[in-house]
Amino acid sequence: MLLVVVAVVVVVGIVIALFGWDRYRGSRQAAVGGSAAQPTEEVFVDPDTGRRMRVWYDGDTGRREYRPEQPADAALGAEILAAGPATDQADREHKAHPVRGGHQPAAPFVGPVGPRVAPPTGGGGDTAIKVTGLTKHFGGTVAVEGLSFSVAAGRVVGFLGPNGAGKTTTMRALLGLVRPTAGGATIEGRHYAELEHPAQTVGALLDGDDLHPGRSGRNHLRVLARAAGVAPARIDELLELVELTGAADRRAGGYSMGMRQRLGLAAALLGDPRVLVLDEPANGLDPQGIRWLRDFLRSLAGEGRAILVSSHVLAEIAQTADDVVVINHGRSVLQAPLAELMAQRNGGMRVAGPDVARLAELLRADGAQVERAGDGAIVVADRTGEQIGRMIAANGIVVSELAARGESLEDVFFELTGSEGGPS
C-alpha cells in the first residue's frame, strides 16, 4: 500500500519537476517581460541598407522577425547602389546597440577587388576545407549529390542556395555530425573526428538555438570551454567581443534571436580556430544585427581565417565573400570568385554630371566603349569604377553620380538556382 502511494507521489513529482517547471518558467518570463500579448508590427528604414523593413514582434514569445517591405530584387539593388546611410528615422534600438568600429560605406561590387582572384577550387597544400563527391540521402530524399568544392586557407567562401538546397547537410557532414552516403569532407586534410584539437581548428555555428534554455550564456560557454580545454579568461573576452557581457549571467532561454546567434558565434570562436563554418549566421538577426555580423565577419576574415558561410540571401555575404559556391537541389551550380561573377554580369558603370560629355571623349580616346543614356548620363561598358574615378580625378571633371549599373546579384542568383524568388 505504502509503495503504491509512494509511486504515485514520485510520478507526480517527476512530472512536475520536468514539465511543470518549464511552463512555470515560461509564464514567469512573460510576466517579467511585461510585453504586450498581441504581436505588433512597425515599419522603419534600415540605416545600413536604406531598405524599408517591417518588424513583427510577438510580445508573448519574444520572437521578432524582420522582413523587407520591398521585393527582394529592388531592395538589393538599393543596397548595392546606396552607399551612404539612409536619412530616415533609424530604429530606436540601434542607438542602444552601437556597432563596433562603425560602418564603412559599401565597397563597390564591380571590377577587380584586390588580390581576390584565385578560383575557389584552386586549393594547394593550404586547403582549409575540401569536400569531395559528397552525397547524402535521408531515406529516399536526396539532400546532397556529388558535391565537391574547397576553401583555401584565408579565404571567405559564400555557400549559397535556396532553402533546402543541402547547405546545412553539407556543413553537418563536414563537421562529422551527419554520416555521408558517399564521398566525404576534410578539414586541413583530416576528417573532423580525427582532428586533434577540433575546437582550436574549426569553429562552427550551425543553429543559434542549440542551447539549454535554463543555462546562462556564460555557463553555456563554460561547459564548452572545459571540454575544449580553453582557459576561462577567454570566455569573458568573447562575451565582450559579441557584446553579451551584460546578459551573460541571465538564463539563455530569455535571449533574443540575435543574442542566441551571437552566443553561438562566441562558442564557435572559443578555441580561436583557423577555420570557421557558419550556417546562415544572419538568420533571425535584425538589421543592426546583420550589419554587426557583416563587420564582424570582415574582421575575422581580415585575420586570415578561412570562412565558409552559408546563406540563402546573397546580399548578406556579398560584401564579405571572396568566392561563391552556389548549390541547388544538392548539386553544385556555380563556383567562382565573386568578383568574376559580378564582372560577368556587369551592366557597365553609369556616370552623370555636368562634364560627362568631356569624360566620354576622354574615355573613348582611351579606347573605352561609351554609350549615352537617355537622361544625359553615360554608360561605360569596359572600365571599372576605379579606372573611371582615376580619370575623373586626373582631369578635374565634376560628376554627380558614379555607380555600377547592372543585373542585381539576386537576379543572378535566381537565374542560377532556377527559382523565382518565391518561397522554395
Binding site: V10, R172, A228
Partner: protein, 248 residues
C-alpha cells in the same frame, strides 16, 4: 577525459532540473521516512529498520530520471551539436557522460540512503523499537542502495541514448518499473518469481537489502546483475548515438 568529465559535471550543475530532482528525492524520502518511522506500528515485522530503509528506494528512480535527462536534454535542446563539435568522438562523449552519471548517482544514493537510515535508526530508537539490524547491516544496506542508485543512473543514460526522446525514455522506464514488472510478477510460477527476483526493482532492492525474504538475492549477484543490465543498455545506447545523424 578529465576535461570532458568536468564539462559533463558542469552541465549537470548548471541546470535547475538537476537540483530540483535531487532536492525532490531527498525531501520526499525525508517526509515519508519521518512519518512512517514516527507513526508506524511495526507489529508484524522483525526488521522495522529494513522496512523503513525501503523508502529510500525512491532514490534509484530519481537517478533513472537524472540519467535519462543527462543525455536526452542534449537532443531536446540541440546542445548535442556544440557538444559533438568540441568532442567529435561520440564514444568518448558518452563515456564522460557515463562517469558523470555514475558520480551523480552515487552521491544521490549515499545522500538518500544515508539520510533515510539516520532517520529510521534515530526515530525508532527514541521510540524504543528495535531496528532489527546491526551496524554492519546498516552500512551494507546504505552502500548497496547507493550502488543501486548509481547503476540506475547509468541505466537511465543508456535508455535515454537509445531513445533520445526525453519524455519517451522517462515514460518507458517508469512504466517498466511501476507497471510492466509488477504485471509480469503476477504471472504464477517460475516466470513471475524470476521477474520479482531478477527484474530491475528486484535487483535494486536486493542490492539495498530492502527486498522481502522471498525475492531477495545476495548483494553481490544483485549488483553484478544490475551492472550487466546497465552495461548492455549503455553500450546499446552508445552504439545508437555513434550511428545517428545529428541533423537538426
Amino acid at each position: 577525459m578529465t576535461r570532458l568529465l568536468s564539462s559533463e559535471l558542469l552541465k549537470l550543475r548548471t541546470t535547475r532540473t538537476f537540483y530540483a530532482l535531487i532536492g525532490g528525492a531527498v525531501a520526499l524520502i525525508v517526509i515519508i521516512a519521518v512519518l512512517a518511522a514516527a507513526l508506524g506500528k511495526f507489529n508484524g515485522t522483525e526488521t522495522p529498520g529494513r522496512d523503513l530503509l525501503a523508502v529510500a528506494g525512491l532514490a534509484p528512480l530519481f537517478a533513472l530520471v537524472i540519467g535519462v535527462i543527462g543525455v536526452t536534454t542534449e537532443f531536446r535542446h540541440g546542445t548535442i551539436t556544440p557538444s559533438l563539435l568540441v568532442e567529435p568522438v561520440r564514444t568518448r562523449l558518452m563515456a564522460a557522460k557515463l562517469l558523470a552519471q555514475l558520480l551523480a548517482g552515487l552521491v544521490l544514493g549515499l545522500l538518500c540512503y544515508g539520510v533515510c537510515a539516520g532517520i529510521a535508526a534515530g526515530i525508532l530508537s527514541s521510540r524504543g523499537i528495535a531496528t532489527g539490524m546491526s551496524t554492519s547491516e546498516w552500512i551494507g544496506a546504505v552502500i548497496g542502495g547507493a550502488v543501486a542508485t548509481m547503476l540506475y543512473a547509468a541505466l537511465g543514460l543508456g535508455v535515454g541514448a537509445l531513445l533520445r526522446n526525453q519524455v519517451g525514455a522517462i515514460v518507458v522506464l517508469l512504466a517498466w518499473v511501476f507497471v510492466i514488472e509488477n504485471l509480469l510478477g503476477i504471472i504464477p510460477g517460475g516466470f513471475g518469481d524470476g521477474i520479482k527476483k531478477y527484474g530491475l526493482s528486484g535487483v535494486g532492492s536486493s542490492l539495498a537489502r530492502t527486498a522481502s525474504h522471498g525475492t531477495r538475492i545476495g548483494q553481490l549477484p544483485a549488483g553484478l546483475l544490475l551492472l550487466a543490465y546497465a552495461l548492455v543498455l549503455v553500450i546499446a545506447g552508445t552504439m545508437v548515438v555513434r550511428q545517428c545523424d545529428i541533423s537538426s
